[in-house]
Amino acid sequence: MKNWAFILSLSSVLLAAVPSAAQQDDLYLELRTPGIAKLNFSFLTLPDQPLWNQTLREDLLASEAFTLIESGVPSGGDPMKYFEALKGAGVDFYLSTSVEPSGTALVLRHNLYEVKSKKVILSKSYRGGFEAVPSMAHTLADELVLYLTGQKGLSLTKIAFVSDRTGHKEVWVMDADGGAHQPLTVHKSISFSPAWAPDGKTLYYASYLYGQPSLLALEWLEGRVRRLVPPKLKTATAPAPSPDGAWLAFAGAGADGNTDIHRLDLATGEAERLTFARGIDTDPAYAPMGNAIVFTSDRDGAPHIFLMDPRGLDARRITMEGGYNAEPRLSPDGRLLVYCAKEGNKFQVYLQDLLGGDRVRLTNSGSNESPFFSPNGRRILFASDRSGRFQLYTMDLNGGQVKQLTREGTNTQGAWSPYLK
């Protein structure tokens, strides 16, 4: 691979922290490596709470940290009597839960056992109304993931996306498991390309609300919207905030109709053009350390993925295969690149390890677009028309464990939130 030297130098730029070989026997680090070790986990299912059972089960699976094993422990059974059976089934950790009605609410008391020592290693209680059952399960799932793996869980994160279910393309938000859909815009125009600010409080997006496509910033919890007007540009789309929240990279076209990457200083409103090559430059996304921008450019004749420094210097092409590669995103540790590549008349999602190795195709059914990493880097959100109309799905980094998140209308351009406080 002629690009090897560059990829290696690139890796030192992009990588946040990669465990060294000497640390590999450490369980904590091992669990952070996608697709390797999973904890064998079992929990007591609650006979009267199917929604809780299902939510917890799906959250734990989506964390990619657990292999779930049926406990065989009857409800109300004393876990102490079943430890040998659990051990025999290979279970490492077991969660026991008791339910107590409390007025119109429920109290859920959880004990997490380490099967080997038969000891309770974590206790949590949650109280809430029946409508709060999913969020009690989400909160518990994140506590379990954090306690057992050291990683923050995804259960309380959100996904912003574009849906046409009202007849117009609007920006919506839902829980990371596909629940609790909520419209964020009612512009009755075409709104698209949502992108989360690093603090999770602001969503940037583009819209035809004012005629030409332009950028908007929505403080989604308060519902306040403001228009961002980059000076002298006719169109502005594809917003991409920098990890420090100071800049907003975007694709903009002036009077000549050529689209380039620009960046807007969010404090001053000053815009600066970053790319000057002939051809279309679009789809910017910052590397997680803020020290690079990946983007799509057709300056070499067909769309390919490029990388440049955040001031627009030193642009280099990083995809060499295929004839149409676009929509690049980097993993939270900066090591992995996902993008979509056109094959025949459809797009497929590809994963490329920037430390080297071949690109890996993760999808094969239908057209698959707009890949986006979960904040823990263990799952990839994408849009696919495999079932007819475009819907949002998630999958693991091997393309497995596919889960469909949306079903109503056409849903595209998912953007996974950062961890929300």
């Binding site: 075409i190 789309t237 694709a251 109709g257 279309i280 799509t296 769309p303 676009a326 979509c340 008349n345």
Partner: protein, 185 residues
């Protein structure tokens, strides 16, 4: 002066001909360039009559007769279609653009929104950029034919507002277009 501009445009078009069109800036070739002899002497003679100027024996001005809706429904302004991932004006659509220019010359108060559209076989943001190129290519062509640029606006819809909804070339070819909407008369 006109002669020099035409020559420059022809030389430019010839120099670009071997490169990939998608990378080219949206400079329209002069309409008769393909048919014109390569000779520098002959070319301007061929080109000159093609530049559209208001004709004195104008037929009834359509804009005085019809409403905006009717003007658009009657299809006085012809769309232009493009090859996949391309934004150069194909020779078979030069007639359509010349007709459009003549209509605009007959109806000097008409203003037009030129929409760039793409088929679904492109990613969302890339297609918005490609549609921008297509709209600008069509606009530059009309301006080269003598239409005042101030009467022409452009907007790109990428693949957001397809004309046809199926998933094969019969629809894709319809969706790769520059579409003209009369917005004032």
């Amino acid at each position: 002066m006109k002669r020099i501009l035409v020559l420059l445009a022809i030389v430019g078009a010839a120099a670009c001909a071997h490169k990939k069109a998608a990378q080219e800036p949206v400079v329209p070739p002069p309409p008769p360039a393909a048919e014109a002899p390569a000779s520098e002497e002959a070319a301007p003679v061929e080109v000159e009559p093609q530049v559209v100027t208001p004709v004195t024996d104008t037929p009834a001005q359509e804009a005085l007769t019809y409403s905006l809706e009717e003007l658009n429904a009657k299809g006085y302004l012809k769309p232009v279609f493009f090859d996949y991932d391309q934004s150069d004006i194909k020779s078979e659509f030069r007639d359509a653009l010349e007709q459009n220019a003549r209509f605009l010359a007959r109806n000097p108060s008409v203003r037009v929104m030129m929409e760039g559209h793409c088929d679904e076989r492109g990613t969302r943001e890339y297609n918005i950029a490609l549609g921008t190129r297509r709209a600008e290519a069509a606009k530059s062509y009309l301006v080269a034919l003598g239409v005042d640029a101030g009467r022409l606006q452009t907007i790109s819809y990428g693949k957001e507002k397809p004309f046809a909804d199926c998933h094969d070339e019969s629809c894709w070819s319809q969706n790769r277009r520059a579409h003209f909407v009369i917005i004032a008369k």
